[in-house]
Amino acid sequence: MSAQWIEACGADEIDEEDVIRFDHGGRSFALYRDEDDGYFATDGLCTHENVHLADGLVIGRIIECPKHNGRFDYTTGQAKGAPVCVDLKTYPVKVEGGRVFLRI
């Protein structure tokens, strides 16, 4: 199946420097908004244990897993050290007409 743009939510449904959960087609994602109104998307679950990142804290470009503080750069998916060592998968995001879309 080829990748397609999926409408996820309104751009203002995510607070600045925060994250929300978005579920689609049996999969779960985390959608982020940074302090400069940049939008990003990653897989929803931490690569360490099955914990949803949308419950975690966003500081700058970093999302922290709510359980063990595993850290990822949500703009690239890069794992930032113990206990996480596997990067997060990221997805392209665009904002059109005040709506957020991700390509999956």
């Binding site: 420097e17 244990e49 914990v51 949803h52 949308a54 419950d55 975690g56 804290l57 922290e64 709510p66 359980k67 063990h68 503080n69 113990a82 206990p83 060592c85 596997v86």
Partner: protein, 410 residues
Amino acid sequence: MAEPGMVIIGAGEAGTGAATALREGGWTGPIALIGEETHPPYERPPLSKAVMLADGEPVLPLIGHGDRFAELSITYLAGARVTAIDRAAKTVRLDDDRALPYAKLLLATGARPRRMMIEGDEALLYLRSFSDALAIRSKLGPGRRLVVIGGGFIGLELAASARQRGASVTVVEAAPRILMRGVPARLADGLAERHRTAGVDLRTGVDIARIEPGDASHGVWLADGSRIEADCVVAGIGATPDTALAETAGLTLDNGIAVDETLTTSDPDIMAAGDCCSFPHPLYAGRRIRLEAWRNAQDQGSAAARAMLGAGEPFTAVPWFWSDQYDLHLQIAGLADGGATTIERDVGEGAVILFHLAADGRLLAASGLGPIGRIAKEVRLAEKLIARSARPDPEALASPTFKLKSLLAA
């Protein structure tokens, strides 16, 4: 003899983290990580939870991924025991009589379950290692009967897992309530209620009189004269730091291996990290504390590695603990004892966060119980405020709509 390298005794969270951090910190010489167990290094927190609950054969919850040691040229000596440290020669002796020379030595020997000395104690099981977990797991299931002695984190997590696997469970705690050490009564009561709802027979304020071991099952006699029949009896009554090697080597002990703020022992070439050591904490008036906690072991492992590389700095991380029982998640940041005021914030779905303030208004600790999504962000933000010795407004703390994050920017 080989080139002196970095030698680490203990391949748990602290020791394994230190090995990796040494290489990442630029050490190019040999690194030897010595573990008594034959398994590759693994995480212990899942032993009372995921390992007990797994549908099929439980998988060893590895720390990191398997190829990491090869990639970093770390020598992992599995199933090896250190018999002595020779501080004058700067070597450690292994049980196969090999001597390993060290430039710096890290003691990450951890803690061992406190043994219960009681009539019939040969029937008792303890939970510390993966093999312990498998032995207990094989005795759980529908229709089986578990008695847990001790209402601490490990015992309660095991009780929750056993209930979820269909076993009948009794928890016996000698103190008036569960989780006396470190968990506020408000949250401990919430957890006790959850266990009772799940069908756990929770008995507090009663001692164990003796165990009556049997072939298939055992009788657990309580001080009040009652007897509980069990297929499995697990004691979770705390842990004692493993200080045997340090003691024989003449290092200073004080509720564990005593280290200074850079995690250095009384010998400048020997560091200690994790459950085995006590250290002065600057956020709590330099009070000497010892933590049995996963995050602390991780943080101290990497901090000790920096000290071994000559770049030691004071260890100031805010103590942090968590527990998972049923659908409830408990998180505690900081140390609440010494607090003068407790502020309660109702965050919905039955979840609650407590903030503990010192007499001067400084935030000492925050603790939360409930679904993870309700508590984790705020406890994490509180942890950052604790680290800054912040004095947040008590009214703001009590308000569910007040965002702690707004205080961080200040």
